[in-house]
């Protein structure tokens, strides 16, 4: 299907192959749980060392080195520790964890068990958003099958290591993807983020040292343990480690989840894999890293989709979700759509985010409807970064990007609305 040819996959089943990896037998035929077996012989310190040396960074958005997190918890004085898998995938444009959990749930469970072994935890929680019905079914069955086969539970594979995984279902809140809000939710509270420090590695679930990793991060670990850090490093491009499941959505011919070398470009993703923009239209802009990353213009499609390269463009990789926007769309309308998402999902705990997200919606609604005051854009450009500085968590710290990046790259479209004109002909009044 892809014009760019096959690239190595370590997370999703091989392309074109009907590998039912969600079944335990099929998973084990392809090496499922062999990394866990190996780890039990290597010892926890060596597992931590391999993950550190691999350069694996958080795939949920923050990009924190996974091995460093594991090391903190493994050396914590408190012997009661937890592993939490963050599967509250809620950001517009993001669906990679859903595809991964549906197609390869055992890989995620093996990654959690490896984290438990390395960090010295006996219990793990997988926090799954409630709308992922098929993921839930596949994970439930995978958990039962793995426990029955002695791969999870008491004395894993006959060793001294015991590890139990609990599946916890969320209740509809984007902010619970923020790690400390997720912990609050797991403890039975409103999903409002905690002030940091202390960090979850110090005082996490029930104040115990806790490793929280994204689904894709944990699923990358079995390959690292089995094949070694160098083999993992070699999968990435230009000094980037590993593979990345990029989500492609929006106005493209073939949206989907594509596992590519970390550092692939938006051009490869949108045009080679995604078949480009259909209906004779052209690419105008794209969000490189989900709703919070804001937009880059089409001229930036050759920028590698990596942590550093996107940061250098004033954007971010986030969870690796590219949303393609064609010349048919209006950037004011598109920015407003995303601002409304952040305003709706703000938990309300801190004022800069609660008030700031609403204020941005009101201001941009005014612009869209031709009621924008002359100074409105400088007000927006002042308000956004203030939210970034003063908000407690990533939602308020980044939720203004859709409009500030819109203003940066598409100022003329915003200006046109001030005089009552929508160049794309989308905004009606």
């Amino acid at each position: 299907m892809s014009a760019a040819g096959a690239s190595p996959r370590i997370l999703l089943p091989p392309e074109g192959e009907a590998a039912r990896l969600y079944e335990l037998d099929a998973s084990r035929r392809r090496g499922g749980y062999t990394a866990l077996q190996q780890a039990l012989a290597l010892g926890p310190a060596e597992v931590v060392a391999r993950v550190k040396a691999s350069g694996l960074r958080g795939r949920g958005g923050a990009g924190f080195p996974a091995g460093t997190k594991w090391e903190f918890v493994s050396k914590a004085p408190d012997p009661v520790r937890y592993i939490v898998c963050n599967a509250n995938e809620d950001e517009p444009g993001t669906f990679k964890d859903r595809v991964l959990m549906e197609q390869n749930p055992h890989l995620v469970l093996e990654g959690m068990a490896l984290a438990g072994y390395a960090a010295g935890a006996r219990e793990g929680y997988l926090y799954l958003r409630s709308e992922y019905v098929r993921s839930r079914e596949r994970l439930r069955r995978a958990l039962a099958d793995a426990a029955a086969a002695g791969l999870l539970g008491d004395r894993v594979l006959g060793s001294e290591f015991s590890f139990r995984i609990h599946l916890f279902i969320g209740a509809g809140a984007y902010v619970c993807g923020e790690e400390t809000a997720l912990l609050e939710s797991l403890e039975g509270r409103r999903g409002e983020p905690r002030l940091k420090p202390p960090f979850p590695t110090q005082a996490g679930l029930w104040n115990r040292p806790t490793v929280i990793n994204n689904v894709e991060t944990l699923a990358s670990v079995p390959f690292i343990v089995r094949e070694g850090p160098d083999a993992y490093q070699a999968l990435g491009r230009d000094g980037q480690a590993g593979t990345k499941i990029y989500c492609l959505s929006g106005e493209v011919a073939r949206p989907g989840a594509y596992e590519l070398p970390m550092g692939a470009t938006a051009r490869e993703l949108i045009f080679d894999h995604g078949g480009g923009i259909g209906d004779g239209r052209s690419l105008k802009a794209f969000a490189p890293g989900g709703a919070a990353s804001g937009f880059l213009p089409a001229g930036k499609v050759d920028v590698p989709l990596s942590y550093e390269a996107l940061a250098n463009e004033g954007s971010m990789l986030g969870p690796g979700a590219v949303i393609a926007v064609s010349d048919r769309a209006c950037m004011v309308d598109v920015a407003l759509n995303l601002l409304r998402f952040f305003a709706r999902e703000s938990c309300g705990k801190c004022t800069p985010c609660r008030v700031g997200t609403e204020k941005l919606v009101t201001l941009v609604e005014g612009v869209q409807q031709g009621r924008g005051e002359p100074g409105v854009f400088s007000l927006i450009q002042e308000l956004g970064p203030q939210m970034g500085l003063a908000s407690i968590c990533g939602l308020g710290q980044t939720g203004y990007n859709p409009v500030t990046t819109g203003l940066r790259w598409f100022r003329e479209e915003f200006d046109a609305h001030l005089v009552g004109r929508c160049p794309a002909g989308v905004c009606v009044r």
Partner: protein, 162 residues
């Protein structure tokens, strides 16, 4: 006065704070809402003040304090928006109002991203995800639900997509 169906749900739990969300999921599923009476009984069982339970119920979008009829949750976020969700949401509102006029217990509920951006536009009804919506398929979903049939024709948990 304890609701016996609720008492049976509570009997499945140990009575710990961390069980609050799992309990509320069961209550919501059984009664279609979590009323003030339900909240009081859950608060008693977990030895929590009522405001704590109420605060959690009102925080999460999947819990509702009153019964509204079956929610037709349709995604309003960017990937779906770029593929025509705004027009679909307007249509859905009109079709649901018509169905309500004929006595059907349905509600249109625009929601945040459902994580089906590769198969946009998407909606969720009960435990069912329906993707790659068109005005025709959406209208058919409303018609089927209004006449008491399942949302999709084949009864699968996920419809559409690849």
């Amino acid at each position: 006065m304890p609701d016996s169906a609720l008492a049976r749900i509570l009997a499945d739990f140990r009575g710990e704070r961390a069980e609050l969300l799992p309990i509320l999921h069961r209550v919501q599923e059984a009664f279609g809402c979590i009323s003030e009476a339900h909240q009081q009984e859950v608060a008693r069982a977990l030895r929590l003040p009522l405001y704590e339970v109420n605060g959690v119920v009102s925080f999460y979008t999947h819990f509702s304090k009153t019964r509204h009829g079956l929610p037709l949750r349709i995604c309003q976020d960017l990937a779906c928006h770029l593929r025509g969700a705004s027009a679909l949401i307007r249509d859905l509102g009109a079709w649901v109002r018509q169905a309500q006029g004929r006595g059907a217990e349905l509600t249109a509920e625009p929601v945040s991203c459902l994580g089906q951006c590769d198969r946009a536009p998407a909606m969720m009804v009960g435990g069912e995800i329906i993707t790659e919506l068109t005005p025709q398929t959406l209208q058919a979903v409303v018609e089927r639900l209004a006449s008491g049939r399942p949302a999709s024709t084949n009864g699968a948990t996920e419809v559409g997509g690849r």
